[in-house]
């Protein structure tokens, strides 16, 4: 199973990893008895508290690809990577909690495509379900491959062994307990990741003598480069290591990509829909937002500390030579620097748990969308609840097998992160336009929703291909020839969303809207929203939304 790796694990480390596998399988088997109906298997009985739903919401996004990828990105781009945790998440989470959640919850939808079916028609819901199913499987496979590569490099584990053992474990526990299993394991993973990774920044800051000492060491190691300012280097594309302009961050990332991901990607929204009541459903993203704001402590800060303390420089994956390490290895390198036996096992288990929880999130969302939004409306309309649950269990396993196939497919791609970001811009950005317009404007019609979504998706893929085949088009799409891959993704997402909005509005104005009664519980102005005036201040989601936004603003000011 093993060759030579960067880290050598001892018996106690292997025991910690083995106990984790045993624990998740046992929990899956235990929860199977609670997941017998469709509501239980696909929606976790809709009985999760705000805390469980909130931690699960933020953990579903905290997979290993996320941990390793963004730690690597912070080594490469500096603190600019924290934008993906702050402006790239917090306003969107608040928007989901306060503006969108009431409509998702009151409509009693089981999924985001399900909401589109209710709001528009089967065509818009079906299109969204198919694109989501494709994206989810591709994401799951890429996540799987990325983790197997890391396990090979770091621990020397065989790539096929990592893929198959982890996938089978995830398959067994999700097929057993459905969304219950996925959520329980995401909460477990949340604690493992924090306890497994928090010592890295603590030790790093102790070694460098605090933040100022770290900044001084970075300047010494990389003279003339600014890695520690969040906004002040974003005035020009060529003034920062990301090749980014502030408009790309604010309008591309903050207004479109993050809004699309956090409010319409069913992988994360599904966790909140499992909340026990509407107040819990509104509080869950806000609880998630508090922890999301803190995640840079265990992801971005280790990358920055890597710039300060690692004796060697890291390089991009593509041009790696023998003996060199890539950006993505910065977190494992920091683990190896500080962690001895026992702690190393915990750190590696946190990475494995992140990988497995990320995959479980993908397959549980895939199972729900396939069963409820593709199989039931288009293939078998009238079947028993038991039949749909069986279908959910089977397609969990089938989804995993397809994911393993896409993992092997991903081995052929040069850059995994490019591939992932491209997927988001293809499917998530246009979907946001369709969902938010449908929620907030009664005049939008079924035809407008369908054609807007299709136009946004096709235009995004078109822009991606245009730049691939004619790199000169980068200056047009990303507004500068100096723009790098991430900047291109942000602008492509922005344009595809705007195209989706324009087509949705134009087609809607030419077609007949639904009646007021058909829109009840689905659209702003036709829905009675529950009042919170009788709740004490600290129980009101709006109060916590203001607190979250205030902390967010203070963080921007501190690291400006």
């Amino acid at each position: 199973m093993t060759n030579e790796g960067m880290i050598t694990l001892k018996a106690v480390d292997l025991a910690i990893i083995a106990i984790y596998f045993l624990a998740v399988l046992s929990i899956g088997f235990y929860l199977k008895r609670f997941a017998q109906t469709g509501k239980d298997f696909f929606m976790a009985g809709r009985e999760m508290t705000a805390w469980v739903a909130g931690l699960s919401f933020v953990s579903a996004n905290l997979g290993s690809l996320e941990l390793l990828g963004w730690a690597g990105s912070s080594y490469q781009y500096g603190i600019l990577a924290a934008h993906w945790y702050w402006i790239g998440a917090i306003p969107a989470m608040v928007f989901l909690a306060i503006v969108m959640m009431p409509f998702y919850y009151i409509s009693k939808t089981h999924s985001v495509p399900g909401y589109l079916t209710l709001r528009y028609d089967r065509a818009a819901g079906g299109l969204s379900a198919v694109t989501f199913a494709i994206m989810t499987i591709l994401m799951s496979g890429v996540n799987m491959y990325a983790m197997a590569v890391v396990m090979k490099v770091v621990l020397g584990w065989n790539i096929h062994f990592s893929i198959w053992v982890s996938s089978l474990t995830v398959g067994i526990y999700v097929a057993s307990g459905g969304l219950y299993s996925a959520i329980f394991n995401e909460v477990l993973q949340f604690f493992l990741i924090w306890f497994g990774a928090l010592l890295v920044p603590i030790f790093g800051l102790m070694e460098t003598g605090g933040w100022k000492g770290m900044v001084a060491r970075i300047q010494q190691n990389f003279p003339g480069q600014d890695f520690t300012h969040l906004w002040s280097g974003l005035g020009k594309f060529q003034d920062n290591p990301m090749g980014m302009h502030w408009t790309g961050i604010v309008f591309g990332l903050g207004a479109i990509v993050s809004m699309g991901y956090w409010t319409t990607d069913f992988l994360v929204v599904q966790r909140v829909l499992a909340a026990k009541d509407i107040r819990s459903a509104k509080m869950a993203p806000l609880i998630g937002a508090f922890f999301k704001m803190a995640v840079p402590l265990i992801v971005i800060l280790p990358g920055l500390l890597g710039l300060a303390v690692l004796p060697m420089h890291l390089f991009p994956e593509s041009g790696l030579q023998a003996g060199q390490h890539s950006y993505n290895e910065v977190l494992p390198l920091m683990l190896a620097r500080y962690f001895g036996p026992g702690l190393l096992g915990l750190g590696v288990t946190a990475l494995v748990a992140g990988f497995m929880a990320g995959m479980a999130g993908n397959v549980s969302a895939f199972a729900t969308v396939w069963t409820y939004d593709i199989y039931r409306p288009f293939l078998r309309k009238t079947a028993t609840d038991h039949h749909y649950v069986s279908m959910g269990r089977w397609c969990t396993m089938i989804g995993l097998v397809i994911s393993i196939g896409t993992a092997y497919l991903a081995m052929g791609f040069a850059s995994i992160m490019d591939y992932v970001q491209a997927l988001f811009s293809f499917f998530i950005a246009p979907l946001f336009a369709t969902v938010v317009l449908g929620m907030l404007w009664k005049r939008v019609t079924a035809a407008g929703g369908f054609w807007g979504l299709l136009a946004g998706t096709v235009s995004s893929v078109g822009m991606f291909l245009l730049v691939k085949f004619n790199p000169a088009m980068l200056a047009v799409i990303a507004l500068s020839p100096h723009a790098k891959a991430l900047a291109e993704d942000m602008y492509r997402a922005l344009w595809s969303c705007l195209i989706g909005v324009a087509v949705t509005v134009a087609v809607s104005l030419m077609t007949k809207p639904k009646t007021e009664s058909e829109l009840k519980g689905l659209v702003y102005g036709s829905t009675v929203l529950p009042k919170e005036g009788d709740l004490p201040l600290t129980k009101r989601p709006l109060f916590w939304a203001v607190v979250v936004l205030a902390i967010f603003v203070i963080l921007q000011w501190i690291f400006w």
Partner: protein
């Protein structure tokens, strides 16, 4: 039908942290006088970090144990 007896997720979190805490703390004590191979090894982090995990795990396990009526 079984919902009234489902064990809270916090109990599972507690048990896992408790087991990990004991293992890590014990391994830190065993390695106490072994040659140092990692940076800041002289702080003996596994002992106090394992101790912290043990305490947090024990509290969660006790608070959310099955049959406590939560």
């Amino acid at each position: 039908m079984h919902k009234d007896v489902i064990i809270p997720v916090w109990f599972f979190v507690g048990v896992l942290l408790l087991v990990y805490g004991i293992l890590i703390c014990a391994s830190g004590l065993v390695e106490w006088s072994a040659p140092q191979t990692t940076t800041l090894a002289e702080l003996h982090a596994p002992v106090w970090w394992g101790g912290l995990l043990t305490v947090v795990g024990a509290v969660y396990t006790a608070l959310f144990r099955p049959g406590r009526g939560r």
